[in-house]
């Protein structure tokens, strides 16, 4: 009863206000960084925790609405908290709790002045994302969307003294704005009668299939630009590495999901009809993004760029899920649509946790060593055992290994694929096995990428002598990493609870839930459709894995000597070994580079046998950049050149222009 006095939507608003206040407060601490790291960031983490709780509570509640008397006169902000919003608030709260805790430790080395502004932008960023999730009119949505774009732009360009980071920020801002235009036009198509832009009247309006298609394509374009969908992905591998690590974690973990949220909101909530080929298109683009992302991740040598490309891959997988959902929903196959949607949302949540964890892990490595290049790292597991252990959880989760969370969502996604033959469309049925195969290829290559990532950074010998001075992460950083790792483990071990919590969301979007069939066999077994088809029990799996490990350990102790022994590695008869001789990131990625050569635009510089100072260099460029972006940029430049022709600098001519326009208007509009 007490809870009813404080509806979750009020709590969400209070949390947003708290974040804004915290951001402003941190501006006042100009002389010392301690207040911000000691108080503001932990307080912000608390607010995130409250958001998580409020979201979890609201997941089971009917939708609530509120009107905020801000905005323009006569045009207030409409808010609505329904299960879909609540789910994404849970995602934001859960992820940002860990990230804010981590930031309390991570940002200690910044100067107080930098930190004040950084903290303001950080909190604006958090608040704007929460506002996007509760917005119930196009006006507030766009305001929050632009606020998010701008605050994240300033976060990306935190180290704006570096030219490359400024360039990355510019590219990011440009594509963010082009995407926002798409979204704005989409809302323009969708708007209700009398130019009413509340989502309520958009739901009430009915669109003809043609205009619905236009709206969907605009939404796919606009939100796809934010999500990093192919071919609008170029900003992502530039902007994510440029930002400080907690910001990268937040951008990759939460910000990309705002685009997923928007796409789901427009497709399933605001539009009434879905056409099957929308699903096929989304699915195709998603698969392309997934494959492209993972292939490029395999050939990267920079830790954060690798993770950024892997974000493109994961967004691709999520888009594949959305595409399947649209397909099933268009053919009125409710249970399958619910399955695909649940897999999509689950994967979005999982990606937020494990990608956040890995970005934070690279942040700790970066702080400890000052190095992002995989070719200069190595052997850090001895120096940074905590970071290594917690990152291992993230790596395993992202590689899709059971019993962690990445496996569950990818498994559910594949289940949805395997059920596709029931779709009444011959061509689709033939294409689906190929698509499923591509998805599996992407997942498996992702595992390969992560072996490379973890192996090169943490295992082996340090490749540089100064790595010996690397120190482990501090208490705050460990707490943040541990929270996200715990999330990965729990989400992996108890999928049935997640599916039950997602029930309301799928009910409200596709009209059917998964809870009844998924939990039919208790929380122990996850049976998405029926036990005859497939079931999975992570706890059981974990039990078996642990049992095997313990038995092996005991057997080794019992039958062999049981002592730990360190010996020199086998040197192949070549005694002079250095750490430089280990397999490198380039070396490990070489097979992928070889097999998928047409996908890359590679320039290689091989040293000749007679070189005094042999030097090997390879650079891999994005074909899209040369095929699509460079010509567009040239075209834009040429057109602006033409427009420059009417700029003479003579005031009389300018006046004459407006005079002529005025006369023309008077003449034609009278």
């Amino acid at each position: 009863m007490r809870i009813a006095l404080f509806p979750p939507i009020d709590i969400v608003l209070i949390i947003i206000a708290c974040w804004l206040a915290l951001g402003l407060l941190s501006l006042f601490s100009q002389r010392s960084a301690t207040p911000v790291t000691r108080w503001v960031m932990p307080a912000s983490a608390l607010a995130s925790g409250a958001l998580l709780a409020a979201g979890l509570f609201a997941l089971a509640q009917p939708p609530e609405t509120a009107i905020l008397p801000l905005g323009l006169p006569g045009l207030p902000f409409h808010l609505r908290l329904d299960p879909l919003s609540a789910f994404f608030l849970v995602l934001e709260g859960g992820t940002s709790f860990g990230i804010s805790l981590y930031s309390a430790g991570y940002f200690q080395q910044r100067t107080p002045r930098q930190l004040g502004i950084l903290s303001l932008e950080y909190h604006l960023f958090l608040a704007s994302m929460a506002l996007i999730f509760v917005a119930d009119d196009a006006y507030l949505f766009m305001v929050a969307w632009e606020l998010m774009a701008l605050s994240s732009y300033f976060l990306v360009t935190t180290d704006h003294e570096i030219g490359e980071i400024r360039a990355a920020g510019y590219l990011y801002l440009l594509i963010a704005h082009i995407g926002a235009l798409g979204i704005l036009l989409c809302f323009g198509v969708l708007h209700g009668a009398h130019g009413d832009y509340t989502f309520d009247s958009m739901r009430a309006a009915t669109q003809t299939p043609f205009w619905a298609t236009v709206a969907f394509l605009l939404a796919l374009f606009g939100f796809g630009a934010k999500a990093g969908m192919l071919p609008l992905h170029v900003w992502l591998p530039e902007a994510h590495p440029a930002a400080p690590s907690p910001v990268s974690a937040l951008m990759s973990g939460v910000m990309l999901k705002t685009a997923i949220y928007g796409l789901l909101r427009v497709t399933f909530d605001l539009l009434h009809v879905q056409v099957w080929w929308w699903g096929a298109l989304t699915l195709g683009l998603g698969l392309l993004s997934a494959l492209f992302g993972v292939l490029f991740a395999a050939v990267q040598t920079d830790m954060k760029r690798l993770l950024a490309y892997s974000s493109i891959e994961n967004i691709g997988i999520i888009l594949v899920g959305i595409g399947l959902t649209i397909l099933f929903h268009a053919y009125d196959m409710g249970l399958l649509a619910a399955l695909a949607l649940a897999a999509t949302l689950y994967h979005a949540l999982n990606h937020a946790f494990f990608k956040g964890l890995l970005f934070l892990g690279t942040g700790s490595v970066l702080h400890a060593t000052g190095e992002r290049n995989l070719g200069r790292l190595g052997g850090l597991i001895h120096r940074m055992p905590w970071v290594a252990l917690l990152s291992l959880v993230g790596v395993l989760a992202m590689a899709g290994l059971p019993p962690l969370n990445g496996f569950v969502s990818e498994w559910l996604m594949l289940q949805a694929f395997l059920l596709t033959p029931s779709v009444p469309h011959a061509y689709l049925n033939m294409m689906v096995p190929i698509a499923a195969g591509a998805l599996v290829l992407a997942s498996a290559t992702a595992a390969y990428v992560l072996v490379k990532f973890y192996g090169v950074v943490f295992l082996g010998q340090p490749r540089e002598p100064r790595l010996g001075q690397a120190h482990d992460a501090g208490g705050w950083e460990r707490a943040g990493l541990a929270w996200l790792a715990l999330g990965c483990i729990l989400l992996g071990l108890f999928p049935v609870f997640v599916i039950i919590a997602l029930d309301n969301v799928t009910q409200s979007l596709v009209g059917q839930g998964l809870a009844a069939s998924a939990s039919a066999h208790g929380w122990f077994f996850l049976t998405p459709v029926s036990p005859a088809r497939a079931s999975y029990s992570p706890v059981f799996f974990l039990g078996v894995v642990l049992l095997v490990v313990v038995l092996t350990f005991l057997a080794v102790r019992r039958f062999y000597h049981g002592r730990l022994r360190r010996g020199a590695p086998w040197d192949c008869g070549f005694p002079a070994q250095t750490a430089r001789m280990q397999d490198t990131a380039e070396g490990f990625g070489q097979p992928i580079r070889q097999i998928f050569e047409p996908a890359f635009k590679m320039t290689r510089q091989l040293p000749s046998a007679f070189d005094e100072h042999p030097h090997y260099a390879v650079s891999v460029a994005d074909r899209f950049w040369h095929a699509l972006y460079a010509p567009t940029a040239r075209l834009a430049e040429r057109i602006s050149g033409l427009i420059g022709l009417i700029q003479h600098g003579r005031i009389h001519l300018y006046l004459l222009y407006s005079f002529g326009t005025l006369l023309l208007l008077l003449f034609f509009v009278r």
Binding site: Q647, G649, I651, L655, R670
Partner: protein, 220 residues
């Protein structure tokens, strides 16, 4: 059918306004331009007051008083001070010669009347016949801005364009809401002050107030 006195008066003022607009178009001397501008303001204030008297609209008295203060006293005073300090009382060169400008002006007036015809038929005010004149004086002021080579006459053209707009508002709808009027008045005042400052800056940078020097600022 006898036309009421106030209506006749307003038509008279409208005619005067148009006459003054033409006078400004043909005037070469800056000093006389400013005086003509003040005269235009006076006529405008009188006509506003007449409309106020005949329609019993209280707020139009205020705007008449505002016009009188701002456009007859304050702005001309500022402009006088400005040209004294800039020491430019001499003739203004025009881009087009005066007779051509006048002919163009006549064409504009014909067009303005044509354009205003449907609107004034719809308007229910008894001052509706003057809408064409108001539009014409806006266009004439615009023409003056285009054909003058120096900065000060352009500013005067801008100010007199605002006069035309104001007259259009009183004649079509008995004036704008007081808030809007106050806002515009403030805008004009601030604009004049800022432009005054610009004059000094321009002269300091180029040793002249000729606008063609600004062409150098163009981005290549």
């Amino acid at each position: 059918m006898a036309v009421p006195l106030s209506s006749q008066l307003i038509n008279l003022f409208a005619a005067l306004l148009l006459l003054i607009a033409f006078a400004m178009l043909s005037q070469r001397r800056v000093l006389s331009l400013i005086n003509l501008y003040a005269l235009q303001g006076l006529v405008l204030a009188l006509s506003t007051a007449t409309v106020a008297y005949s329609t019993h609209q209280e707020h139009l008295y205020y705007s008449a008083a505002l016009t009188l203060f701002l456009k007859v006293l304050l702005l001309p005073w500022i402009l006088h001070r400005l040209i004294r300090r800039l020491n430019i009382k001499w003739d203004v060169e025009t881009l087009l010669n005066i007779p051509t400008t006048m002919l163009l002006g006549i064409a504009l007036v014909i067009m303005a009347f044509n354009v205003a015809l449907p609107i004034s038929q719809m308007a229910g005010t008894f001052t509706r016949a003057t809408l064409g004149i108001a539009t014409a004086s806006v266009l004439l002021s615009f023409l003056m801005m285009i054909t003058r080579r120096k900065a000060v006459p352009q500013v005067i053209g801008f100010l007199s364009m605002e006069n035309g707009l104001f007259f259009a508002a009183t004649s079509a709808t008995y004036g704008m809401p007081m808030v809007v009027e106050l806002g515009i008045a403030l805008d004009v005042l601030v604009g004049t002050v800022i432009l005054g400052i610009f004059f000094f800056q321009i002269r300091e940078a180029f040793d002249s107030l000729e606008l063609r020097h600004l062409e150098r600022l163009r981005e290549d």
